[in-house]
């Protein structure tokens, strides 16, 4: 069922306001231009599908989309017998969707009971294995328990169980399997330090890894870097992800996401040469970019200095991206960085720039542009001065000779000051400068 959303006035306002680049309050709902919830959810599988649907429902301002997302989340949670997510979904639905979607405590209890039973069975099995001291079975026992906990939403227990299998791993295949499980749970828990840890552990195994696994690891590493705000590293990791990823990692990330995250991080943090070599000329990454043609257009526009259209594309993508569970908090920073980079790149080749033409190229007002430029100059990212009267930006190159003289004189002064202070202090210490000595002894050793 396709949900077409009318472009509400709020959505239009959001698009034009977004040009200022300010961070919207995290809780403010966002109206989506056109969000095909079903198609979006189809990209993912497993727990992340439900989590993402719930996230969309929370953040999206349009009622219809909210309800659609919640309905799908509810069905999915019920099908997976995940009581935690189910309760969450029901709470949010709040009886808006009719009788079928009300809180079904009976079902919850029956699921919980069955879960308890299964858990006991697994635990007794595990104890049995432990007494037998067969490594392989113990490992599989812990794995099963971990899977069980994960399926029912008890993430920290799942994490602990998976960690325990570490001691019983014999081949590198086991290690890799353990790492993948731990990475999955850590991403859901939001503990990205562990993700980076286990990615490097998995990559260090002596056997060569399957290409799909390598791609998965790269994508996970990229995600971890993104969440910890290391955009440059994140970009590199995403760009190195091979096309073998396909939809094999749908329980974490979809290939479109790899393209979007990688492109945005690269735009925000790479310089021009890196952008060309790693993004535009990167054959592997091209496969990903084909999946999201707007992003491909965006990158090409930026490289070709068509900043107006580049920023326009960014704004169009913004509402949808705000509904993405991983990208949301970083969107403001990334957009700001990209905009600043565009401005800096624009002013670089010129000795003087007329602010009016620049403002029309960037599609903003002259006064706003002037403020942005002033901020960038204060941060020393642009070497220029603004002629506010005539609205011109002049490039300014520091006079090396004068600067050298100034620095030399200043260094001389500082040297003098520090040496004198030091000699004084040395002398004080030499006279055993100790306040216990005064005012008793007044020896003038002249």
């Amino acid at each position: 069922m396709d949900v077409d959303c009318e472009v509400s006035a709020a959505a239009a306002a959001a698009v034009t306001n977004g040009l200022g680049g300010g961070e919207q309050a995290a809780a403010a709902p966002v109206s989506a231009d056109q969000l095909d919830v079903e198609a979006y959810a189809a990209q993912y599988s497993g727990r992340t599908r439900v989590a993402r649907l719930l996230f969309i429902a929370e953040r999206c301002g349009v009622e219809a989309i909210q309800l659609e997302a919640l309905r799908m989340a509810h069905d999915e949670a019920r099908a997976r017998e995940d009581t935690v997510l189910y309760l969450d979904a029901v709470l949010k639905i709040n009886s808006r969707l009719g009788p079928r979607y009300r809180h079904d405590q009976a079902w919850v209890d029956s699921v919980n009971r069955r879960a308890e039973q299964r858990k006991e069975k697994l635990e007794t099995e595990l104890n049995g294995y432990r007494t037998n001291l067969i490594k392989e079975s113990i490992r599989m026992g812990y794995n099963d328990i971990g899977d069980f906990f994960y399926a029912h939403g008890h993430l920290s227990e799942a994490f602990k169980s998976y960690i325990r299998t570490r001691d019983y791993c014999t081949t590198s295949k086991h290690i890799v399997q353990m790492c993948m499980h731990v990475i999955l749970v850590s991403i859901e828990l939001g503990q990205f330090a562990h993700v980076t840890n286990y990615v490097s552990k998995a990559e260090q195994t002596p056997d060569t890894l399957d290409a799909v696994i390598v791609a998965k690891l790269r994508a996970a590493a990229g995600l971890a870097n993104l969440e910890t705000k290391k955009y440059k590293l994140a970009a590199r990791k995403f760009l190195e992800t091979g096309p073998e990823l396909g939809s094999n990692y749908s329980e974490v990330i979809a290939p479109q996401d790899v393209a979007v995250y990688g492109a945005l991080c690269a735009l925000a943090s790479f310089d021009r040469s890196e952008l060309k070599s790693k993004v535009i000329d990167n054959i592997n990454f091209r496969n990903f970019l084909e999946l999201v043609p707007e992003v491909r257009e965006l990158v090409n526009d930026f490289y070709a200095s068509r900043y107006g259209s580049c920023l326009e594309h960014l704004e169009k993508l913004k509402p949808n991206l705000l509904l993405d569970i991983h990208l949301r908090e970083h969107l403001g920073t990334l957009y700001n960085d990209i905009r600043h980079k565009a401005i800096i790149q624009y002013t670089l080749p010129f000795i003087s720039v007329d602010l009016n033409t620049m403002a029309s190229a960037f599609k903003s007002s002259v006064s706003m542009l002037e403020k942005e430029l002033a901020a960038l100059i204060t941060e020393n990212k642009i070497q220029a001065r603004i002629d506010s009267h005539n609205k011109i930006l002049y490039a300014r190159h520091a006079d090396q000779r004068n600067a050298t003289f100034q620095r030399a004189l200043q260094t001389g002064n500082e040297f003098e000051r520090d040496i004198k202070a030091m000699l004084l202090r040395a002398n004080l210490i030499k006279h055993d400068f100790n306040q216990k000595n005064w005012p008793g002894q007044r020896k003038m050793n002249l």
Binding site: F415, E416, R425, N437
Partner: protein
């Protein structure tokens, strides 16, 4: 015990050469104490027999025992006594008085007290300045007189007089209290003359001097240090490594309000700073720092305007007013004008358009004055460097240092160089 007349005769007779002076000194020391004290009231007329320049040592002893008794002082308050003492200080001979430094200090202190009692500190300035020069063995030495002299200058508001003493760099110090007082008063004089950089140097020395326990002077010095560094550079530098641990730990506790002031300054908002200062006005008043605090406030405008010169070539007065948080463009114009006059920024105001254009520093470093300035700096620094190496050499030859280094090397008993280059079996 000889009578005073005999003593006077000795003084007159034995004030020739160094040996005689030594002998005289011995005699005087003997006579000192009860003998002189008993006759102290009547000593004054004897002084007229002696010449302060030639007979400085004897004069000093007599004078000292005279002024030591407060009864005498009260009897002769004001009037000739001051003139006599001042006269002595200006004309005494440096070598002789250095043999009895305590007494000399005592006499100076008495002079200072008298002058302060008479509420005429300015009368004490000239004699004390001469006294300071005479008792110093080298221009790099700090004496207790320095602090007293500076205090008098401060009270008399004769800052320039204090400058001559402050210009000498001090390298030798005997008593900690002298140093602290010297730095504190000296800094206050520089602040009065608005030479904030030099004030900052002195306060820095006071704050970072080695100390085992905190004293009140350092606390006051730190308060002023915070204020002056805010005026000078807009931020308070953190304690350097060599600051004593007592200072680092405790100074901030005693001066909390100033630390808060510096954080408030860091936010860059004039109105916040103003409200903060208003609410804490009495505290600043009791510390006698309110004038400085007001200067800190006005320095905030200056700093903001200076930041603008880095970003803009020309800027309208309204924009200046709005970005620096002033109320009207007229005020902005006034501030900019004052800063141009003080030489803090280089700009021209175009009143017709209401624009200010900021110019580059016109200093081209090509003039002959600049070359001389650079040359003299280089000479000074070379002299300083030489001094540093000589001190370093002295320390390396010092016995205590060598012992310490030796004990550190004890563990590596046989250094590689200790072995002969030729194996023993060939001997």
């Amino acid at each position: 015990m000889e009578s005073v007349e005999a003593l006077v005769a000795h003084i007159q007779g034995l004030s020739g050469s160094a040996d005689e002076l030594a002998q005289l000194h011995g005699l005087l020391k003997q006579a000192d104490g009860d003998a002189l004290r008993a006759h102290s009231a009547g000593l004054l007329p004897f002084l007229s027999h002696l010449h302060p320049g030639a007979h400085s040592l004897g004069y000093l002893y007599l004078l000292d025992s005279f002024v030591s008794s407060s009864a005498n002082l009260r009897a002769h308050a004001g009037g000739d006594l001051l003139v006599t003492v001042a006269d002595f200080l200006t004309s005494c001979s440096a070598d002789q008085i250095r043999m009895a430094p305590d007494k000399f200090l005592n006499v100076c202190r008495v002079l200072k007290n008298e002058v302060m009692q008479l509420n005429a500190p300015i009368r004490g300035i000239a004699p004390l300045r001469a006294a300071v020069r005479k008792i110093q063995t080298s221009s790099e030495q700090l004496t207790p007189l320095h602090a007293e002299y500076l205090m008098l200058c401060l009270l008399a508001k004769q800052y320039k007089a204090g400058l001559s003493v402050l210009e000498d760099d001090i390298f030798e110090v005997d008593q900690p209290k002298d140093l602290f007082l010297y730095c504190y008063y000296g800094a206050m004089i520089y602040i009065g003359l608005k030479k904030f950089r030099k004030a900052l140097e002195l306060l820095h020395n006071a704050v970072t001097a080695p100390m085992s326990s905190l004293n009140a002077i350092t606390v006051e010095a730190y308060k002023k240090y915070v204020l002056v560094s805010l005026i000078q550079s807009g931020q308070v530098p953190s304690f350097p490594k060599y600051t004593s641990s007592t200072a680092q730990r405790n100074l901030k506790n005693h001066t909390q309000i100033y630390v808060d002031l510096s954080t408030c300054y860091g936010t860059g908002s004039y109105s916040d700073l103003e409200t903060f200062i208003q609410s804490n006005a009495e505290a600043f008043q009791t510390d006698n720092n309110f004038g400085l605090v007001k200067q800190v406030l006005s320095s905030m405008y200056k700093r903001n305007i200076q930041r603008l010169t880095q970003t803009y070539l020309t800027l309208s007065l309204e924009d200046i007013a709005s970005s620096v948080q002033l109320n009207t463009p007229k005020e902005a114009e006034m501030h900019v004008l004052r800063m141009i006059e003080d030489g803090e920024i280089h700009a021209t105001i175009n009143q017709k358009d209401g624009m200010v254009s900021f110019n580059e520093d016109p200093e081209q470093y090509k003039s002959s004055e600049m070359v001389e300035h650079i040359d003299s700096s280089i000479q000074r620094l070379m002299a300083l460097s030489k001094k540093l190496t000589s001190i370093d050499q002295n320390i390396s030859c010092d016995h205590a240092f060598l012992m310490k280094v030796q004990s550190g090397r004890e563990r590596a008993r046989f250094d590689y160089d200790d072995f002969d280059s030729v194996p023993h079996k060939y001997f």
